[in-house]
C-alpha cells in the first residue's frame, strides 16, 4: 500500500514524527442488524452502507513543522485528526509515532503516547467540562501523567502553563462558563500544553472564535511552537491562516489527499486542479488576478464514491484514465506531491 516515492522522500527528510500509511475509515450508516435486512428479488439480503470518510491517505508529519490540512467541510480532515489521536479506530492502514505503530494499541499502552500527543478542539464552549473549575481541568492531566509529583509541583506546572497562555493563574477557581470564547480556547491550549507534549493536533482551533481573537490565539500557538519546540497538525479551512501559519499544506478532497506541498510552493504554484480552484477562491485586493475558477456540480456523496480519481466529475481536465484509475501521489519538481493523472502526464 505504501507508495515507493514517498518512502524515498521521507528518507531524505530530517525526522518523521507521525507517519500515516494507507489510512481508510468508513462509518457504517445502515443501522442495526434488523435495519440491514432488505427484501430483494424474492430473497432476504443483508445490505450495509458506509460513509467513506478517509480513502487511502498517506501523510508524514515532520518534527518541528506545522502541517496544515485544508479542504471543504466533509472532506475528512477532522476524521484524519481524530484518527491520529486514537479517538477513532481506522478501518485500514497504520499510524506510527516515531516509528512505533500506535493505531492498534489499547488505552493503557497508549498512555505514554498521550503525554507526547495532545489535541486542541474546535469548540471552546464544549471542550471544557462545565462542572469542573479551570484548575481542576488543568491539574487532571498533569497528575495523571506525573503520578509521583507533589501537589505543589502540580500546582506550579499549572500556574506555568496558565501564565504562558495569558490566563491569570489566580482565576483557577472559576468555572469555564465564566470565561469568554477566546479565554476558553487559551485554557484548552493550556490543557494540551500541561503535559509537555511534542506533537499537537489542532482541529480548527480558531474557527469558532471572533476574528479579532483568532489572530491572538494563532500567535499564541506560534509562540508555543517556538518556545516548546512543538509540531502541529493543524486542521483548518481558512487559507489565510494556512499562509501565515503552515510549513506545509495538505489539500484534501472527499477523503483523499490531492496535493501536499510547502506552503510557499502551494500558494505560488498550485498543481492539482482542485487546489487551483481553491486558491482562486481566496478573496484578494488585486485587480490583475486570474479569473475565479468555477467548478461544475457539487461534491459527490461519500456514500457512493466516484470511481477513479474522486475529483474527476468536476475536473475540467478529466479524461478516461481519471475515471478508471485512482491517482497516486507523485513528487513534483517543486518539492511537493500531487495526486493527479493530468500532472503526471504533463497535461496540466
Amino acid at each position: 500500500m505504501t507508495d515507493s516515492k514517498i518512502t524515498e522522500q521521507t528518507d531524505q527528510q530530517p525526522e518523521t514524527l507521525v507517519q500515516i500509511r494507507g489510512l481508510y475509515k468508513k462509518f457504517n450508516i445502515s443501522g442495526d442488524f434488523l435495519d440491514q435486512l432488505k427484501f430483494k428479488g424474492g430473497k432476504i439480503v443483508r445490505e450495509q452502507e458506509f460513509v467513506h470518510a478517509i480513502n487511502g491517505v498517506n501523510l508524514d508529519i515532520q518534527k518541528g513543522e506545522a502541517l496544515c490540512v485544508v479542504g471543504e467541510s466533509g472532506c475528512g480532515k477532522s476524521t484524519v485528526a481524530r484518527t491520529v489521536m486514537g479517538l477513532i479506530t481506522p478501518s485500514a492502514g497504520s499510524i506510527s509515532y516515531r516509528g512505533e505503530r500506535i493505531d492498534d494499541l489499547d488505552d493503557k499502552q497508549l498512555l505514554p503516547y498521550r503525554k507526547k500527543m495532545q489535541m486542541i478542539f474546535q469548540n471552546p464552549y464544549a471542550s471544557l467540562n462545565p462542572r469542573m473549575t479551570i484548575a481542576q481541568t488543568l491539574e487532571e492531566p498533569v497528575r495523571l501523567h506525573n503520578p509521583d509529583w507533589s501537589a505543589q509541583q502540580v500546582r506550579d506546572k499549572v500556574h506555568e502553563v496558565m501564565f504562558s497562555v495569558g490566563i491569570d493563574p489566580s482565576w483557577g477557581e472559576r468555572f469555564a462558563h465564566e470565561f469568554s470564547g477566546g479565554q476558553r480556547q487559551r485554557i484548552s491550549i493550556a490543557r494540551a500544553l500541561a503535559v509537555d507534549p511534542e506533537f499537537i493536533v489542532a482541529d480548527e482551533p480558531i474557527s469558532a472564535l471572533d476574528v479579532s481573537i483568532q489572530a491572538q490565539v494563532l500567535n499564541l500557538l506560534m509562540d508555543a511552537q517556538e518556545k516548546r519546540n512543538l509540531t502541529y497538525l493543524f486542521i483548518t479551512h481558512d487559507l489565510a491562516v494556512v499562509e501565515h501559519f503552515g510549513t506545509r499544506v495538505a489539500v484534501m478532497y472527499l477523503g483523499s489527499l490531492c496535493e501536499l506541498a510547502p506552503t510557499k510552493t502551494l500558494f505560488a504554484k498550485p498543481r492539482h486542479p482542485y487546489t487551483q480552484a481553491l486558491m482562486s477562491a481566496i478573496p484578494r485586493l488585486e485587480d490583475d488576478r486570474p479569473p475565479h475558477i468555477k467548478l461544475q456540480g457539487e461534491v459527490p456523496t461519500p456514500v457512493n464514491l466516484p470511481s477513479g480519481c474522486v475529483f474527476h466529475g468536476r475536473c475540467p481536465y478529466a479524461n478516461e484514465r481519471c475515471k478508471q484509475e485512482i491517482p497516486k501521489l507523485i513528487t513534483t519538481d517543486e518539492g511537493g506531491q500531487v495526486a493527479c493523472h493530468g500532472v503526471e502526464e504533463g497535461r496540466i
Partner: protein, 324 residues
C-alpha cells in the same frame, strides 16, 4: 481586568478564594426561579415540615406507639379531640383500633414511609446510574444487552414483582421473620423493581454528553473509562437525576403504602402510613373514619408536594422549557 489584578495581588500569599458554594447558588437560575415560584416555596416548606416531623418523631410524639406499656386497649377508637362527645384531650387526632395515639403513630409512620422511600430510591439510583452510564458510554452490544434487561424489568409491573417476591418470602420464611425484615425487604423490592427508570434517563443524557468535546479531551488525555464516566459525564447528567429522584421518592412511598395496604408491607406493630390506612379500613364503616382518613391525607399531601417539587425542578432544569 484591573480589579482582577488587584485582588490577585492582595491575596498573593494565599490561594485565590472562590465565591462560596452558597454564594454561587444564589446566582443560579434555580434560586431565582425558586424565589419567584409560590408553589415551589409552599411545597418545599411543607416537605421540610414532613422531614422535620420524621427526623424528630420521638421528640415530638406524645406517646411511643412501639411501646406496648403506653398503649391501653380501653382507649381504642377514640375520635379526634375536637369531637366534644367522645374526644379525649390526650389524643389530638384520636386513637386507632389498638388504642395507640394516632398523631404519634402518624409521626412514626411518616418516618418509616420516608425512610423506605428514600432508601429505595438510593438503591434504584445506584443500580440505574451505573447501568445507564455503562450502557450509554460503551454503546453497541453492551448497550443493547443492558437496555433489553431494562425493558424486561419494565414489562413486569413494580407491584406484581413486589407482591410475588414479598408473598413468597412471607410464605417460605414465616411471618415473624418477615416482620423483622419488612423494612429491608421493601427497600430491596422497590429499589430493584424500578431501576430501569434511572438507567434509561441516565443513558439518554450520557448519549448526549459523550458527543461533547470535553469527553474527547478527557480521552485524549488518557483518562480511564471509569474516570471519564463518573468524574466527567456523571456530574453533567445530575439535573435529570435530581428531577426523577423527587418523583421516584413519591412513587416509592406510594408503592410502599400500596404494599402495606395489601398486607405485604410494614407489620401492624410498626405501621407505616400505608399500613395505618389499611388497619383503619376495617373500621371505616363503624364510624372510625379518622384512622384511615387522617393518615390518608398525610400521605396524599406528602406525595403531592414531592410531585410539585419535581415538576418545578424539571421546568427549571430543562432549558428547552424555560427558554422556549
Amino acid at each position: 481586568m484591573t480589579t482582577e489584578n488587584q485582588t490577585s495581588a492582595n491575596k498573593m500569599p494565599v490561594p485565590e478564594k472562590a465565591p462560596s458554594a452558597w454564594e454561587r447558588f444564589k446566582e443560579t437560575h434555580v434560586w431565582h426561579s425558586f424565589i419567584k415560584d409560590r408553589v415551589a416555596q409552599i411545597s418545599l416548606t411543607i416537605f421540610m415540615g414532613y422531614v422535620i416531623m420524621a427526623l424528630f418523631a420521638p421528640a415530638i410524639a406524645p406517646f411511643d406507639p412501639y411501646d406496648p406499656t403506653q398503649i391501653d386497649i380501653m382507649n381504642s377508637e377514640l375520635p379526634p379531640s375536637w369531637d366534644e362527645e367522645m374526644g379525649d384531650e390526650q389524643f389530638w387526632l384520636g386513637t386507632d383500633a389498638q388504642g395507640r395515639d394516632l398523631w404519634s403513630t402518624i409521626l412514626y409512620g411518616t418516618r418509616i414511609s420516608l425512610t423506605i422511600g428514600i432508601c429505595a430510591v438510593l438503591l434504584q439510583a445506584t443500580i440505574g446510574i451505573i447501568i445507564g452510564l455503562i450502557a450509554g458510554y460503551r454503546g453497541g452490544r453492551v448497550d443493547n444487552i443492558l437496555m433489553r434487561f431494562a425493558d424486561v424489568q419494565l414489562s413486569f409491573s413494580t407491584m406484581m414483582v413486589a407482591i410475588v417476591v414479598l408473598a413468597v418470602f412471607q410464605a417460605s420464611f414465616g411471618t415473624e421473620l418477615y416482620q423483622d425484615l419488612a423494612r429491608i425487604m421493601l427497600v430491596l423490592v422497590i429499589g430493584i423493581a424500578e431501576w430501569p427508570q434511572y438507567a434509561r434517563t441516565i443513558r439518554a443524557s450520557v448519549l448526549a454528553e459523550k458527543k461533547k468535546e470535553y469527553v474527547d479531551a478527557a480521552r485524549v488525555m488518557g483518562l480511564g473509562q471509569m474516570r471519564i464516566m463518573f468524574r466527567h459525564i456523571l456530574p453533567n447528567t445530575l439535573s435529570p437525576i435530581l428531577v426523577i429522584s423527587t418523583v421516584q421518592v413519591a412513587n416509592a412511598i406510594i408503592s410502599e403504602a400500596s404494599l402495606s395496604f395489601l398486607g405485604l408491607g410494614m407489620p401492624v406493630s410498626q405501621p407505616s402510613l400505608g399500613s395505618l390506612i389499611s388497619s383503619g379500613f376495617e373500621y371505616i364503616f363503624s364510624g372510625a373514619w379518622w384512622i384511615t382518613v387522617i393518615p390518608g391525607i398525610v400521605l396524599v399531601v406528602l406525595v403531592l408536594v414531592m410531585n410539585l417539587l419535581g415538576d418545578w425542578l424539571r421546568d427549571v432544569l430543562n432549558p428547552k422549557l424555560y427558554k422556549g
